[in-house]
């Protein structure tokens, strides 16, 4: 009861995270099936609860009543009834279930007009590749509104699961070439930043493997793609100092623009991000906190402690925050 009350007070959760406030075609479809199944189930619950309460009240032993009730063996009609009716209810549920299972599934190649996207799970961050646009980014996915996106999922290490509750249910990212998965997402008509989660236990910082999905207008999306491809990663002032240090210490794992390795997140456009490492508030203090001791923020992640002094860290932080695309 308390929980019910609390729930009513709260609504259905965060509109950028809750599966109960779906956006886009897939999540909306899934929500409608949830509602249908819930309605059938509430009907079942009501029937059971009504009989239950009636029986408990009516047939409790009264004081002084020591009679032995009739020892009924059973009733064939009733047995048939409570076998047949549930079967009927399940058929009502099973038909749309099977239909939608096929409906929301995706083939291994994108259909015409679908935006193609490759998602790779890493401990503990997400890599997003737009093969056609030749863009690789991380942690924050940028997508245009009203667009169907074909997603190919894989993992660089252990199993993760790619979940944007507001837009679509989850699909696992499996390691190994033979175990690639596919799904599709429709981005809905709202310009909104949605929250994404990893839903499969993947190690110590599984809980911190958050990402963002920025759904923007088609124009803004095009502009973002353009500026991403043009991004040079050059900077001025203290940030230029930081760029030197970055090139020396970070570039082997982290790419900016066209240069750099790909074992760590691509940092192009880092200055525009919403969160540092997916979880911390996006400010300089937190960037420095991360660089100084990544293990403290995300235990078990693969980034080593880079031997930089405070000034160098300061410069690198300035550099990273200067990496803006707009």
């Amino acid at each position: 009861m308390f929980a019910m009350l609390a729930l009513l007070l709260m609504g259905c959760g965060d509109p950028t995270l809750s599966a109960l406030l779906p956006q886009g075609e897939v999540a909306t479809k899934q929500y409608s099936l949830m509602v249908l199944s819930l309605a059938i189930m509430i009907f079942v619950l009501l029937v059971v609860f009504i009989i239950y309460v009636f029986v408990l009240v009516k047939f409790r032993k009264r004081k002084g009543d020591d009679t032995i009730p009739e020892q009924v063996e059973g009733n064939h009609l009733l047995e048939i009834l409570w076998t047949a009716i549930p079967i009927l209810l399940l058929i009502i549920l099973a038909v749309p279930t099977v239909m939608q299972t096929f409906d929301v599934s995706a083939k291994d190649k994108p259909k015409k007009g679908e935006l193609s996207l490759k998602v790779t799970g890493h401990q503990y961050w997400w890599e997003f590749e737009y093969p056609k646009e030749e863009i690789i980014t991380s942690q924050e996915l940028v997508l245009p509104v009203n667009t169907k996106v074909h997603v190919e999922l894989s993992s660089a290490d252990v199993i993760h699961s790619f979940w944007i509750p507001s837009l679509a249910g989850k699909t696992d990212t499996n390691p190994g070439d033979g175990s690639k998965n596919y799904m599709w997402i429709e981005t809905g008509k709202k310009e909104q930043v949605y929250k994404g989660k990893c839903a499969e236990l993947c190690g110590a910082s599984h809980a911190l493997m958050d990402f963002k999905v920025k759904v923007v207008s088609k124009e803004k999306y095009e502009a973002w793609v353009d500026s991403f491809k043009k991004a040079s990663g050059n900077a001025t002032g203290n940030a230029a100092e930081g760029q030197k240090i970055f090139k020396k210490n970070c570039l082997s794992c982290h790419a900016v623009g066209k240069d750099g390795g790909n074992t760590g997140p691509n940092l192009t456009g880092f200055g525009d991000k919403q969160r540092v490492a997916g979880v911390l508030e996006h400010n300089k203090e937190n960037v420095e906190k991360w660089i100084k001791n990544p293990q403290k923020v995300k235990p078990g992640n693969n980034m080593p402690n880079v031997p930089l002094n405070d000034e160098e860290v300061d410069a690198v932080a300035d550099y990273l925050l200067s990496l803006k695309l707009q």
């Binding site: 029986v55 279930t97 499996n174 839903a199 599984h206």
Partner: protein, 614 residues
């Protein structure tokens, strides 16, 4: 054969270490299972304290993963399973009119293997860190997990799994072969039926687990590549193997609870079970279908819409026999004279709770919707509704109901009711909000959550509920301690029971039945009572009773494997070989020494019979 005289009575600790008596083994299972239940409960409390507020730092991320792994593993394998075996041991032979199980030695071995498996697993806390890959131990997280934790997991479950497997076989043979005259299959009490089906499920479900664990341990200890995709292995094989075991395991747990509920509901409604044959059929059907649905744990791993649809429909089908059971319980109470004893309260609390767990189960069977539910707190809520709200409430009903049979004392009813209400309310407070947490986007197995996602209040409520459950459990233990100081209950049939176990005097004689009873129908004891008979009609004259000898070998065999496992974990092959040799020596001794057991002589039995009649 009859030349063997009565054995010398062993006393105290030695008696418990060497016993092969199903009643004592039942008590051992109950104590050990209760012990691990407390450990698993403490782990749960630590997790709920960590999650009581966002971005809490009560436990570290690594520790939390160990806690969630150990909580799940402990509760499933080392609390729920042994508690079920406790009641199967304590009750099934009595219900079918047998003097013991078919293989008393194997029964003891099963217990000790389980026990040392559990001890091994829990030692990991002290010896380098507990497993941290979840109770499902998905590869490659489990194969690459640092530290010895997952090795403890693999070998602990492997050893206890052997115990469970031979325990299951033992009960199959017992129930098939050792029923009293007249106890046909369709006259067996429902608890015995569920124990029978559960044992059958164990027989088919545990071998895949054994194989899977072997593969996993080979990957870890000997660098095999079963689950290593870089060298041609496949991670999905583990998931399949695990769930081919894991789903039937759910029914292995729930069926005996169904059985206990059936006995309690019938007894306290003063009616025979409504639709007995439908109940039996439903039990068998649930057991059968339980093997056809494992992929519903894997809807999101990418098996494609065809596989997902087939398993979705199969999963939904299980709701039908389960519904049959619910309605038959309701109609057993219909027209009865319901007495709300503590045992009955648990049974009555079980029904709506389990139905709620069942309906979310049907919802989870819808693949497309499951993509949202899967691995979120919705699933956590669901399986706690079926495993705590189903299995544990059923086991508590069984505990209050059979406690007098096991310990000759009745648990205090007032404390029992306090236990019920705190635990029951605490349970719903803990787990009901979790449905919504999941739908609102909270994944399971997270050591923390950021603030500002509207997840704070419900998590807080959930943690408060957990404290209530803990208080309820403490009340139970107080009750048990108090009862130990009490004298025997006045009657050996405190509930006006219907089945054979209540026809036996206090304290239960070592040989259970002085004369094997003649069974004349379902609810055998009730039939005799209503016919005005004082007790069961004997099927044989009083005679010498053949009994098995106690043995220390099961204990030593299990210790041998325990040592071997430690050797494997720490890569000392000599230790491993020593342990295995010790076990083999015990097996050799068991094979070479002719043990014909002993006889309790007719005169002793007659003296006992006189003593009882008062």
């Amino acid at each position: 054969m009859s030349t063997h005289a009565s054995h010398t009575k062993r006393s105290g600790l030695m008696d418990w270490l060497t016993t092969v008596d199903h009643k004592k083994i039942g008590i051992l299972y109950l104590i050990a299972g209760g012990f691990f239940f407390i450990i698993g409960g403490i782990e749960a409390m630590l997790m709920r304290i960590q999650l009581i507020k966002p971005e809490n730092d009560f436990v570290a991320a690594e520790t939390f993963n160990q806690l969630l792994t150990m909580h799940g593993t402990t509760m499933i394998f080392f609390a729920a399973m042994p508690l079920i075996f406790a009641f199967m041991n304590a009750v099934v032979p009595l219900q079918i009119g047998a003097r013991d199980v078919a293989f008393p030695f194997v029964n003891a071995l099963g217990f000790w293997l389980f026990f040392f498996g559990g001890v091994l697993l829990n030692l990991s806390w002290l010896l380098g860190g507990a497993p941290d890959a979840g109770w499902t131990a998905y590869a490659p997280l489990s194969t690459t997990s640092g530290g010895p934790g997952v090795d403890f997991y693999v070998l602990g479950i492997q050893i206890s799994g052997i115990g469970t497997l031979i325990g299951g076989i033992n009960f199959l043979v017992t129930i098939i072969n050792m029923r009293a005259p007249g106890m046909t299959f369709m006259r067996m009490p429902l608890f015995t039926w569920t124990a029978f089906v559960t044992s059958g499920l164990i027989l088919f479900a545990f071998p895949p687990l054994t194989i899977g664990l072997f593969m996993l341990s080979f990957d870890r200890v000997f660098d095999a590549n079963f689950f290593n995709p870089d060298n041609g292995g496949n991670i999905l094989i583990w998931e399949h193997i695990f769930w081919i075991f894991g789903h039937p395991e759910v029914y292995i747990l729930i069926l005996p609870s169904f059985g206990a509920i059936s006995e309690v509901v019938a007894t306290f409604s003063r009616k025979r079970l409504f639709g007995y044959s439908a109940m039996v059929f439903a039990t068998v059907l649930i057991g059968f279908l339980g093997f056809m649905v494992w992929v519903h744990h894997m809807f999101t791993v990418g098996l494609g819409p065809v596989a997902n649809s087939i398993f979705a429909v199969a999963t939904m089908a299980i709701a039908v026999p389960t519904g049959v059971k619910i309605f038959n319980w309701l109609f057993t109470m219909w027209g009865g004279r319901i007495v709300f004893s503590t045992a009955m309260l648990w049974a009555v609390g079980f029904i709506p709770t389990f139905v709620m767990g069942g309906v979310t189960g049907v919802m989870l069977a819808i693949p497309s919707a499951d993509y949202q539910f899967h691995d979120s707190y919705f699933v956590v809520a669901h399986f706690h509704y079926v495993i705590v709200g189903g299995v544990i409430l059923g086991l508590f009903a069984g505990l209050y109901y059979w406690y007098p049979r096991m310990f000759n004392r009745v648990l205090n009813e007032t404390l029992g009711k306090i236990h019920f209400w705190t635990f029951f309310i605490g349970f719903h407070l803990t787990f009901f909000p979790q449905h919504f947490l999941g739908l609102m986007g909270m994944p399971r197995r997270v050591f923390t959550y950021l603030s500002g996602q509207q997840l704070d209040q419900l998590n807080f409520i959930s943690s408060i509920g957990a404290f209530l459950m803990a208080i309820g459990t403490i009340v139970l233990f107080i009750n048990i301690i108090i009862s130990a100081s009490k004298k025997y209950a006045p009657s050996s049939d405190p509930w006006n029971g219907r089945t054979l176990e209540w026809a036996i005097p206090y304290p239960t004689p070592e040989y259970n039945f002085a004369q094997t009873p003649l069974v004349r129908g379902l609810d055998a004891y009730w039939i005799e009572k209503t016919a005005g008979n004082k007790g069961m009609t004997p099927a044989e004259p009083v005679g010498d009773i053949h009994m098995p000898n106690p043995s220390i070998l099961p204990l030593f065999m299990s210790i041998g494997l325990f040592i071997a496992a430690l050797g494997l974990i720490y890569n000392h092959m000599t230790v491993t070989i020593m342990g295995i040799v010790a076990t083999f020596i015990c097996m050799f001794l068991r094979s070479i020494i002719d043990d014909h057991g002993f006889h309790i002589h007719k005169e002793e039995v007659e003296a006992d019979l006189k003593g009882v009649k008062e």
